[in-house]
């Protein structure tokens, strides 16, 4: 997704910032650190860097180099976004955030969007975080993600080509793998999806 946005030839330059939430890193992935990681990717103007350098030097002098508070981080993020023509923020696996961080994160994103309405935000997560997302973005667009049968088949074909013991594979088993696995996975995805089709949520 990020590469597609960056690689796309467009009339205007765009800025893309991405973040991957990870449950193994929950303690360090505080909302301020996540916002800081996004901000790092959006500093592309000397003036923004100048503000940051001043704040950094002040923190070194007065706060023993402590990091910014969330509200200061969001403020700087808004400043950075204001200097860019179009900003895309992508955050993967929101369900892997600690619950309190998730709500803070959504609140911060909402705050950013209110000030910079051209910003586009893409988030992914397991189905159960939908309620939280809808609570903050009632008009957000929700799309189910599932691999297509065609993609699964191509993936299996590639894996079978890399089989280190091809002699142990019979033609019948080979054909069965390519037929049955894609069908079963597609069925699983349909059964486990709460929402059947892409839709716009308007409550």
């Amino acid at each position: 997704m990020i590469d597609s946005l960056c690689d796309e030839p467009g009339e205007e330059d765009i800025a893309v910032a991405a973040f991957y939430c990870d449950f193994r890193d929950q303690q360090e992935q505080t909302t301020a650190n996540i916002m800081g990681a996004i901000l790092k990717q959006l500093v592309a103007r000397e003036e923004v860097l100048g503000h940051m350098r001043t704040a950094f030097q002040k923190a070194e002098r007065e706060l023993d180099g402590r990091g910014l508070r969330l509200q200061d981080m969001v403020r700087m993020l808004k400043q950075a976004i204001a200097t860019l023509p179009q900003v895309f923020i992508c955050i993967d696996a929101l369900d892997e955030c600690l619950p309190r961080n998730l709500l803070e994160l959504l609140e911060s994103l909402k705050d950013i969007l209110q000030e910079s309405p051209r910003t586009r935000i893409f988030v992914t997560g397991r189905p159960h975080v939908e309620a939280e997302i809808v609570a903050y973005f009632i008009t957000g667009v929700i799309v189910p993600i599932s691999p297509s049968t065609h993609e699964i088949k191509r993936y299996l074909e590639r894996k079978l080509e890399m089989d280190t013991m091809p002699d142990a594979m019979s033609d019948v088993l080979h054909a069965d793998i390519l037929k049955i696995i894609p069908e079963r996975i597609s069925e699983m995805c349909v059964r486990t999806s709460i929402l059947p089709t892409p839709r716009l949520v308007l409550y």
């Binding site: 997704m1 590469d3 890193d25 800081g36 586009r120 397991r126 993600i145 993936y155």
Partner: protein, 84 residues
């Protein structure tokens, strides 16, 4: 990432020249994780997503602020992280 995106390049230069400020902003480094994702991604997996109307409208901003947020949901392993 590619090099024809000017903003990306400017950001890269600033980040490289100011590592102490970048570390102060956040100890987290999502670029490294992104490299892993790119390396492990299988060809054009998830390219169907880029062809959906929902993505197109979100990308172009056609839906305005109301459609500024796009949420792709799915169970573990369906390919959310690896969407092309």
């Amino acid at each position: 990432m590619n090099s024809h995106n000017t903003i990306l390049n400017l950001n890269q230069v600033i980040a490289d020249e100011n590592p102490e400020i970048m570390r102060w902003l956040s100890p987290l480094d999502p670029r490294r994780r992104h490299q892993d994702v790119r390396t492990n991604r299988f060809d054009s997996v998830g390219s169907w997503f880029l062809e959906t109307n929902e993505f197109g409208e979100w990308r172009s901003g056609g839906g305005g602020t109301e459609k500024a947020v796009l949420f792709g949901y799915g169970n573990p392993g369906v390919g959310k992280t690896f969407l092309r």
